[in-house]
């Protein structure tokens, strides 16, 4: 937010409130992702169940933010930085909501997995997810600090996540091929891996929004992409 406050205090309050709701919603998403990953790596069903239950909170934030944005546009006609605050809040909230959904989906699958997963798979998952968690934290910090350079960093590091996702997929595919009994767990793990990668994509979307919010410019050019995804048909 700009340093000088608005002449109309209630308008100032409404924008501040919108901003703090995004930050709170982002905090819940960070927590959901953290717990979902912990649940799958430490086999903690309580964590998984609480992620599933708490997703409702994140959904409610999305509805609240949408209402606040509609009210601001209808009643305040925001301009310039205020307009960008308002519009990006709407878009960021919908990416955060998806992140919440994906964390919930990971948790649902966690509850269906067997107790003992091979260590190499867990390690591969942790490598992707710790990067994604770091991204999510960075982009929420970038939003809070109105930092376009931090947003740019997050945007650029999506490539690494794509590469780690592919490595993790390869491990899971190997695991699937080892034994027919691995079919259930392996399939869930493929989806879990994909979900984590999708969360990374949503943080990249948020990075684009933060960059636009701060600079008024769109991040141009193609998104950095990792190596092409490995398809299951490979030898």
């Amino acid at each position: 937010m700009s340093e000088a406050p608005h002449t109309v205090k209630s308008y100032e309050e409404e924008l501040k409130n919108l901003n703090s709701n995004i930050i709170k919603m982002g905090g819940f998403c960070e927590e959901a992702l953290g717990k979902a990953i912990q649940a799958i790596t430490t086999r903690n069903s309580d964590h998984a169940e609480s992620v599933i239950k708490d997703d409702e909170k994140i959904d409610k934030f999305e509805t609240l933010i949408e209402q606040q944005v509609v009210n601001l546009i209808a009643l305040r006609q925001p301009m310039a930085i205020d307009l960008r605050e308002t519009v990006t809040a709407l878009k960021i909230s919908s990416d955060l909501e998806r992140i919440g959904d994906l964390a919930k989906n990971i948790s649902k699958r966690t509850l269906l997995l067997n107790e003992n997963l091979p260590k190499n798979l867990v390690d591969a998952l942790v490598r992707v997810s710790s990067n994604v968690q770091k991204q999510l934290k960075s982009i929420l910090d970038a939003y809070l600090d109105r930092s376009s350079s931090m947003a740019m960093n997050v945007w650029e590091s999506d490539e690494k996540i794509d590469d780690l996702t592919n490595l993790c997929m390869q491990e899971v595919i190997k695991y699937l091929k080892e034994n027919e009994k691995n079919l259930d767990d392996g399939t869930h793990l493929l989806f879990v891996t994909k979900n984590i990668e999708r969360i990374g994509d949503h943080t990249t979307n948020v990075a684009e929004q933060v960059y636009y919010l701060v600079t008024g410019e769109y991040l141009e050019g193609d998104r950095p992409k990792g190596t092409e995804p490995i398809v299951t048909g490979e030898k």
Binding site: S2, A4, H6, Y11, M79, A80, I81, D82, L83, T215
Partner: protein, 258 residues
């Protein structure tokens, strides 16, 4: 008129300073006004936007203590030159004011007055045509065609303002200056004037001073922001309202001023 995808410059203000007695009201204004575009001038009260507007048809001449320096070039001619014929100038550059100010005469006479003094009609028939065309362009014809010989002051506020616009365009000006033309009108009359502005820009270059930021955003393609007698920023309207370069502009349009 566009040449190579770039709008032609209709008016070019160069290093314009204005003084009221010892007090300087405008400081070194440099602004190009594009042809067949609507340029909005915004800024807080006393910022000099109306003073600047009044420079463009030398309305400041009527104020004894007012002194204008610098060049205002219209069609390659500096209107501040001694040789400038102010009556011809105001034929080319019409003006519409904040409060509708029809002459206390009939509708017909309100429109025919300008064309008469400029000798634009040779016959009654030609004058009838000018009156009809002007009222049609001002989107007033249908409402008043059966009462052309009634007093102009008998119309509603919005109709009176459109009458004043019809009066302004009756002498086929190249430029129309509007000083808060909607501030005395209701939202419906305002929308009609805004629609009219959109139409008129096809044939005229329009400069509008407005206190309504939303109106500036709606009607103009170019916007200039004045503050304390300086032109702080000017550029395309969408740039000014989405992502202005200057902090003062941003503070003003977002309501963070003072």
């Amino acid at each position: 008129m566009r040449k190579n995808g770039v709008n032609m410059i209709k008016i070019s203000a160069k290093n314009v300073d204005v003084f009221y007695g010892k007090k300087q009201a405008l400081f070194n204004i440099n602004l190009d006004i594009e042809e067949n575009q609507v340029t909005a001038l915004i800024g807080p009260s006393g910022c000099g936007k109306s003073t600047f507007l009044r420079c463009l048809n030398r309305m400041n001449d009527v104020i004894d203590i007012c002194k204008v320096q610098g060049e205002i070039v219209i069609n390659d001619f500096n209107i501040n030159d001694k040789g400038c014929d102010v009556v011809r100038l105001r034929e080319k550059i019409g003006m519409v004011f904040q409060k509708p100010n029809p002459f206390p005469k009939t509708l017909y006479e309100n429109i025919s007055y300008g064309p008469t003094i400029h000798g634009m009609a040779q016959s009654k028939q030609e004058m009838d045509e000018i009156v009809e065309t002007s009222l049609k362009k001002a989107a007033l014809w249908e409402e008043v065609k059966d009462r052309l010989h009634e007093p102009g002051t008998g119309l509603s506020g919005g109709q009176q303002q459109r009458l004043c616009i019809a009066r302004a365009i009756s002498v086929q000006p190249e430029v129309i200056l509007m000083d808060e033309p909607c501030s005395a009108l209701d939202p419906i009359a305002t929308a009609q004037i805004e629609e009219l502005i959109d139409e008129l820009k096809k044939e005229h270059t329009i400069i509008i001073v407005t206190h309504s930021m939303a109106q500036a955003a709606r009607v103009s393609q170019r916007t200039g922001f004045f503050h304390l007698g300086e032109l702080i920023e000017h550029g395309s309207t969408d740039k000014i309202f989405k992502n202005p370069d200057n902090t003062k502009t941003q503070d003003y349009i977002t309501g963070r001023f003072g």
